[in-house]
């Protein structure tokens, strides 16, 4: 015993090897400065309402799904179901708990969504791959039905819709577009920061081991079932908060129909196009998904001068959208974020190439 410790004298003295050199992320800081400082000053209501708020909320939802699908490898097509849980739970908390501050209601809604996600994640210990994916549709349809069928969830409103009873933070009213934008931006930045650290932690590494091969992960001693369920819960927490923000900060008034299966697919597309297993990819993907329809609309009106009817334009949009998805999958399976990083590497050595 003693000989061993004597034979390795330097092991404790030497400084730990610097594996990851951390630099200040100037680009990110600049982006945050623009988002918090410049945008509120310059942005008009249309930009905030129609572009920035949905973009940020969809990014957050993409982030939630990416934790489950991109990092843990459990494909889910029930994302919107968990968003609905978050929205309806936050609504219920704001309505039935007097004096509950908005951030706590959001977190509470997220936690309730996490609980539901945990429940629907239980089968993942036995069911895998496409079979599991189809079972997540059970969550989608079941939750949609629950929030339509039981009036308690929408406080017996005859329209079946919910809208935020109060939207204020520390006495500030957040009903203006700017207020809602800052609420969304704050939540997204905070939750993204948590996610970045989460995927770098032991938890995140276990998730990635499970994604790469769950049998191998079990062999090296990772409690696979528990971490899969944890991924479902954490992912649903993010989706729940995103759902609440989608309902109250973007739509204003929402119903179970706002969280139908098309929303689930939309969020799935965000992470495919943006990049699976990438945090920044969600933002790129969400920007693409939320801007593309606007661009196609503009281009259609500009090119055809309003001569074509709306139905045909919609069909054309659908075709272009589908072709783009296939094209992305063929050209760059790792998503737009990979395309961007390739571009950056190229520019860094421009005009020379290796």
């Amino acid at each position: 015993m003693t000989t061993l410790s004597h034979s390795l004298p330097a092991a404790h003295d030497s400084a730990p090897v610097e594996l990851l050199r951390r630099r200040l992320p100037w680009g990110l800081l600049a982006l945050l400065a623009v988002a918090f400082g410049l945008v509120p000053w310059l942005g008009n209501d249309y930009w905030l309402n129609a572009i920035l708020i949905p973009f940020l909320v969809l990014s957050l939802a993409g982030l939630g799904l990416n934790l489950l699908t991109g990092y843990t490898g459990q494909t889910s097509v029930g994302a919107a179901g968990f968003m609905a849980v978050g929205a309806f739970a936050t609504y219920g908390l704001l309505l039935r708990v007097p004096g509950l501050p908005l951030p706590l209601a959001l977190v509470g809604g997220g936690l309730i969504a996490a609980g539901v996600g945990f429940l629907f994640g239980i089968p993942s210990n036995r069911i895998k791959g496409f079979y599991l994916m189809v079972t997540t549709l059970a969550a989608q349809f079941f939750l949609e039905w629950v929030f339509t069928k039981f009036p308690w969830f929408y406080n017996y409103a005859s329209s079946g819709t919910i809208s935020a009873p109060r939207l204020e933070l520390l006495g500030h009213d957040l009903h203006s577009p700017l207020g809602r934008y800052l609420l969304v931006l704050g939540s997204v930045v905070l939750l993204t920061w948590v996610a970045v650290n989460l995927v770098r932690s032991q938890i995140g590494r276990n998730w990635m081991a499970i994604r790469d091969m769950d049998t191998a992960a079990a062999v090296i001693g990772i409690p696979v079932d528990r971490y899969k369920r944890l991924a479902f819960a954490v992912s649903s927490f993010y989706l729940g908060v995103a759902g609440a923000l989608w309902a109250f900060a973007y739509l204003g008034t929402a119903s179970a129909g706002s969280f139908d299966i098309n929303r689930s697919f939309q969020i799935l597309f965000i992470i495919i196009i943006g990049g699976m297993g990438s945090i920044a990819g969600n933002f790129v993907g969400a920007a693409f998904i939320s801007l593309l329809p606007l661009l196609l609309n503009q281009a259609g009106q500009w090119l055809l001068g309003g001569n074509v009817d709306a139905g045909q334009l919609q069909n054309l949009q659908k075709i272009i959208f589908g072709v783009l998805i296939i094209w992305f999958l063929v050209k760059e399976p790792e998503g737009l974020i990979r395309l961007l990083s390739n571009l950056r590497e190229r520019l860094a050595i421009w005009p020379l190439r290796f």
């Binding site: 189809v134 299966i261 589908g322």
Partner: protein, 293 residues
């Protein structure tokens, strides 16, 4: 008791309609490992093409033949533009490509042939028929018979033709099939064409039932639980799964739905599938994958 039998029988017959959709999935999954979400869109496209041709005044048989040709051409185009560039990619990538494909096909179908609801008359009366004391729909009986006929034809195709043997070889072991000189691309084209034709049959029956319109492509969501109960790789499983889902759905709507507010059909099949899967994770007849580290 008669009422129970009627509900059960009606469910079983409705289930064969689900099976018809699920068979298209199984064919493609077996031969190319692709979970083809676009099957619903293909079904819509086939039915719309047929109706449009019939509206041009073509006789039934000619319209059917032309639609089959269109579906075959479609299969070749899909193989060239989607499957071939994505060969050897992960299954999830291929699945997502078929999601994109479903957008393209739906957009094309509605863009070219219009979005309004079309009536489709196959000349089958939807009148009640009495089997003893139990009342069933004649249409359902015809649909079930069609499904049975289709399965018989497919079984014949798979077991006693050269193409069928190659198909089974590819499904069994793609690499080994390639190494003995089977043309994989050709096989994929054939399988997608056959799946398109199965989609046509399903589309005609569903279309005659509820009109040819966009919601036809949502039939795919009905077929998914059927598929996972039966297992992705078994045509027999698709049939049995369809029967189970159809019967259980009908019985549940009547006997359970009445107590919890009704309208439970959208999710009941999925929850049922979840329970089945929890007991048998690869479906009733699916192949259990052996995992090696």
């Amino acid at each position: 008791m008669t009422f129970f039998l009627e509900t059960l029988l009606g469910g079983l017959l409705a289930g064969t309609m689900y099976s018809l959709v699920a068979i298209g999935f199984v064919l493609i999954y077996k031969a190319s490992g692709v979970f083809n979400f676009a099957q619903g869109a293909m079904l819509l496209f086939a039915a719309l093409t047929f109706v449009s041709l019939q509206e041009q005044g073509l006789p039934f048989a000619l319209a059917l033949l032309l639609t089959v040709v269109v579906m075959a051409i479609g299969a070749i185009v899909i193989e060239r533009t989607v499957l071939r560039p994505l060969v050897n990619r992960s299954q999830i990538t291929l699945f997502m490509a078929t999601l994109g494909l479903s957008f393209v096909i739906e957009g094309l179908a509605q863009g070219l042939m219009g979005a309004q609801v079309r009536a489709l008359d196959l000349g089958i009366d939807d009148v009640p028929v009495f089997l003893g004391e139990v009342m069933v729909s004649q249409f359902d009986l015809v649909a079930a018979a069609t499904a049975a006929l289709l399965v018989a034809v497919l079984a014949l195709l798979f077991n006693s033709t050269r193409i069928g043997v190659s198909l089974r070889a590819v499904a069994d072991d793609t690499r080994a099939a390639l190494s003995i000189g089977i043309n994989l691309n050709r096989i994929w084209q054939i399988v997608w064409a056959v799946a398109g034709i199965v989609g046509l049959v399903a589309g005609l029956l569903w279309g005659a039932r509820q009109g040819v319109q966009f919601s036809l492509s949502l039939v795919v969501l009905k077929a998914l639980p059927v598929l996972i109960i039966g297992g992705f790789t078994s045509i027999g499983g698709a049939i049995v799964g369809g029967l189970i889902v159809g019967a259980a759905e009908n019985l549940a709507e009547v006997y359970i739905g009445a107590h919890i507010g009704g309208g439970i059909t959208p999710w009941f099949a999925y929850v049922l599938a979840l329970v089945f899967l929890y007991i048998r994770p690869a479906g009733l007849f699916g192949e259990r994958a052996i995992e090696r580290v």
